[in-house]
Amino acid sequence: MTTLTLGGAINAGLRRSLANDDRVVLMGEDIGTLGGVFRITDGLKAEFGAHRVVDTPLSEAGIIGTAVGLAYRGYRPVVEIQFDGFIYPGFDQIVAQVAKLHRRSRGTVKMPITIRVPFGGGIGAAEHHSESPEAYFAHTAGLRVVSCSDAADAYVMIQQAIASDDPVLFFEPKRRYHVKGEVDDRASLADAKPMGIASVVTSGTDVTLVTYGALVQIARDAATAAAEEGVSIEVIDLRSLSPLDLGTVADSVRRTGRLVIAHEAGQQLGLGAEIAASITERCFEYLEAAPVRITGHDIPYPPAKLERYHLPDLDRMLDGVDRALGRPNSLSGVEA
């Protein structure tokens, strides 16, 4: 066991993947000499060389498109997209190539590409630096989408993503990069929990609160705050956004009868829509109230001074819990 920041845990996971498999190469803008703008790849170029940790020209389609070619040759490229809002120039290569080539080649060509994306807000950044584009990828067949919320998961999941023969979008909660946690850096990957499985991080009986990434900690805090008021919240960290581990969520909702989903991305067609619809399908008879979504507004990410009025926080989560429980809340008395 060792204590690492979430960012440090990813760095350690990358290092281990590079060491274990010489077909693993890291590619991206500024990831080599600089170690990335968040220093997630710090030291790796020095350790593994410029052919394993590759500073690329400034072009996202170029990075992902050449990663496809490398995958064709048997490499396992790990691509860094510098910020969430810069992934769109590479969208075509992700959606039309990375996601589809295993299928389009009838399973003969593997696309074991990991696309790392620091995502989400809360760091007071400029426009395009705080986005939550995960739903675009979760809507895309052929991709896997995961997000970690703490150092321990980050360390294991990045290695699992790289080891997966499927392409994985790996969303890193950038405002948690500096948060420390215990990491078991000796454990074998084989024993680790698969990245497709959700975690129940706090058990509870009254409401199921589902989230992922940076909001997991806030959900924990909400559970603590609610406990003081006698409300018992079960917090689930999804970890995998595609496929969703709906079994774990449904098990919980069958016990609690109430579901709140929180994410930073906009509400319309955010992950909350899929979870609400799927859980309603699976648990209709168990639901005591409609699933509640606590999300970013359906707006372009606002200027830094306004982000607290956009991001779901503890108060908004608790307001959602109150709605799910039918307790007085911000929408009390409003026509649905």
Partner: protein
Amino acid sequence: MTPSDRIATGLLTRPDGFAQLITPEGERRADPDLDRWVVDIDTEALRGLYRDMSVLRRIDSEGIALQRQGEVGLWPPLLGQEAAQVGSARALRSDDFVFGSYREHGVAWVRGIDPADVLRVWRGAASSGWNPYDYGMAVPQIIIGAQSLHATGWAMGAKWDGSDAAAVAYFGDGATSEGDVNEALVFAASFEAPVVFFCQNNGWAISEPVGLQSKQPLAQRADGFGVPGIRVDGNDVLAVLAATRVALDRARRGGGPTFIEAVTYRMGPHTTADDPKRYRTDDELADWRARDPISRVGALLAASGLDLETLEREVEVEAARAAGELRASIATMADPEPMTVFDHVYAEPHSHLDRQREQYARYLAQFDDGASGATEGGAR
């Protein structure tokens, strides 16, 4: 500057605008730069290229016929581009890797791919026709230009692996306007990747003339990226072969990428769904017929004393057999099983799709005779 570098940049400045070894009339033209790259192409080898092109042309027209008869959904003919495809593909080694577009049936054929496997996809009977690793050729690419980056990435990998194999990206004149192709030039130049960008400038991108994409020869585009551009008569199989050998030689010796603009012409429609009469003249077509890639090789062979009629008869037999085999293959192309819609979406188990597959199987099983009941409204 190495000799190949000189060739690469020198060709553009020739008065006729491109390198040519066989004139449209079938005369062998001397070329101080290119000749030495094709000294091995004797009459026998030239006969082989003639045969390649002729058989291909016949296979291609069979593809059109099968489309007209409803056996195939769509067919993008290569008519007129036989020299560009055969000449370039014959320069390759088996460990080189081709990333083509949707029109490279000729390249596929040279790589040893059964035309039936090409057709299968256009028939809509499979998402892919062959295993890329069996032939050193990727699955076809419809997203214009995307494959140029794949070829570049593959070439970067080949270089890192210490191999002297090269990648070839095939694309059209229209494709040069897509960001991907330009980014591929950036990456290839930056990493000195052993990749050949083989642009078949066939004059048109569907209805758009090449002049809409660029006001100057496309080979010059590459020079701007630091990738030497060669402009070659794309209807001259010998010149194309030589130019591709030049480019591959550079690549293998660590010289990095080369861009070849093969000036050719799409003599047929864009695809069987297209009507070129709406946008181009018969005169233009007639012009290009006079520059046919096959007949000039025939004329050269005849001039060298070969009995062209005999050759034509031989080739005709072979072409007819190939076309017949292609046609016959249709009978063996059973429609895929309904449940295969779920295949190969993921390489590893996937909880969501596995469940969806199960539910759909249950849905289909409701109908009396399984799958076939699921017609529009038919089952109720």
